[in-house]
């Protein structure tokens, strides 16, 4: 199936920013196992990752790691 018309939707799909009908269209098409769309989703993930890496990192709070492990053990 030609999915050229979906070409620019993958980043917005991962962001949850598409209108519902576009999202359903893309989701249904991806579910057919389209290799091109799988490739585009990977590309979109890396593109979004690049954008999301822009903010300056913030140092961990002291004690944050211990808190995380306490929460893990409490589960």
């Amino acid at each position: 199936m030609d999915c050229q018309y979906l070409e620019d939707l993958h980043e917005l799909f991962l962001l949850g920013a598409l209108a519902e009908q576009d999202e359903i269209k893309l989701r249904e098409h991806v579910a057919t196992g389209c290799p091109r769309c799988a490739e585009r989703l990977g590309e979109a993930a890396l593109t979004l990752f690049a954008i999301l890496q822009s903010p300056r990192p913030l140092r961990n709070d002291p004690g944050a790691r211990a808190r995380l492990l306490r929460r893990l053990r409490a589960k």
């Binding site: 920013a17 990977g42 890396l46 890496q53 990192p57 913030l58 995380l68």
Partner: protein, 190 residues
Amino acid sequence: MPDEVATPELLSRLVAREEGALGLLYERLGPPLRGMVARILTSQEEVEDVVENSFLELWKQTAQKTSVKASVEVWLTLAARDLAVERLRAARKSPRRKLSPPSLDSAWLPDSSEFALFARRRELVRNALGVLPASQRAVLDLAVYRGRTEEEMADLLHKPLGRLRDELRATLRYVRQRLHALMGTWTANI
């Protein structure tokens, strides 16, 4: 020291259910996640909670696995963004579907070798994003950090939906093409 152990090795230990490995991954990968989540949420407590939840989700999703192929850096970033935006959307009672972290098993997730290539060119990528015009950055920020849909953005910016879509999709296409040029590896038809 955490830096003496490579991330893939820590991930293997995590898969083997070593709790200490989760703590070491948190030490290493927490700061960029915290910076990103703080662009989305203002409460420090919520930021911390989302970052911790992302790592707890990683722990959960690595249960009963023998290995993980996907880049944990990329997965954690997408997962933390989704968890943070989900809180924003809940706070404004958005009717949009719930966002949830992608499955670590998703075949489309970039693997660690793709991430390594990106990491070597991180500064170039950052510079490429830095030259986006302010108007394009503003629309991108609404989609990425405010969790707005195309329809919501058109309303907020008082633009026709078709025009907003064209501009936003063109911006994302530009970013993607710059990354292609810098990394020179993807095979997409651009």
